[in-house]
Symmetry: C2
Subunit: 167 residues, 2 copies
């Protein structure tokens, strides 16, 4: 068993970004225009939506960016969208704490300001100022934008500040 | 401006996994033993914790797995841990819907069962059965484990099922 376990090899890590049905197609277009993500493939809904439902025929899509993949998918069962859900939650808990709930992704780039500007042009909203040096593992300069689907993206300079591995 | 925006280039996408202070060091060890992640670097807390605080001197760590990076970080301001927080939320909303809140990551592997077994040996908990064919963008066989820090990992066979890009 130990030997079998040692052989486990993973070939990809893909964050899964849920959006409320039928917004996946909009989200895919947003990530293309905001970040330059490329679509590697998509799966159609099965069965396809009827004309009465007036939904785009997309279940999920795989996007590629900076050598990594992430998946955007419609969640049919979601009774809320993430943005609305977090807004409602903020009645109970300070919003900045809610944002820590695993819905942040970091994007590294040499030009933080241009990247933020491009994301905002596509519909993202800036959160706070670009800060210097406070990013630890996430680069020397760190800005933050929230996309229309509730996900927060840290836009950071490359993280060559991470120290050596300690025992 | 348009030209400047077109030049924005990202060099990395890194999911940010928040865990309640001081659990980051435990989480790093878990991701190493459960998934075989490698530590690329860590940043120490500044100022370092005092002897009275009895905390590991780690602010965040960058882990690498299957050619991708992710960051595990202590959230000093978190009044909760993610697992507890989601458990409490489930009083109000069905738990399976809560899990859609951006805290799922997909890991691809050729041996789904061995990967799940290894993760469980390290402390993860299996959620449901391994299913066939329902994964769409996430491979033909899909299992699910929840780690001790509240994050859900889909363990999937490679996703060569994604269809071609549609216009």
């Amino acid at each position: 068993m130990a030997q079998q376990q040692a052989q486990v090899k993973f070939t990809a890590v893909k964050p899964q970004l849920m959006v409320k049905t039928p917004k996946a197609v909009d989200a895919v277009n947003f990530y293309k225009s905001a970040f330059g993500a490329a679509e590697a493939g998509r799966s159609a809904s099965c069965p396809p939506p009827t004309a009465e439902q007036n939904l785009p025929n997309i279940l999920c899509a795989q996007l590629e960016l900076a050598g990594c993949s992430f998946v955007v998918y419609n969640d049919d069962s979601a009774p809320y969208d993430l943005h609305l859900f977090l807004s409602l939650l903020s009645i109970f808990i300070e919003e900045e704490k809610i944002e820590g709930i695993g819905n942040q992704l970091c994007l590294e780039t040499d030009d933080v300001e241009a990247a933020i500007s491009k994301a905002v042009s596509a519909g993202a909203v800036v959160e706070g100022e670009v800060t210097e040096g406070g990013g630890a593992c996430c680069g020397g300069r760190v800005g933050k934008v929230k996309d229309p689907y509730g996900y927060v993206w840290l836009i950071c300079s490359p993280s060559n500040k991470c120290g050596p591995v300690e025992a």
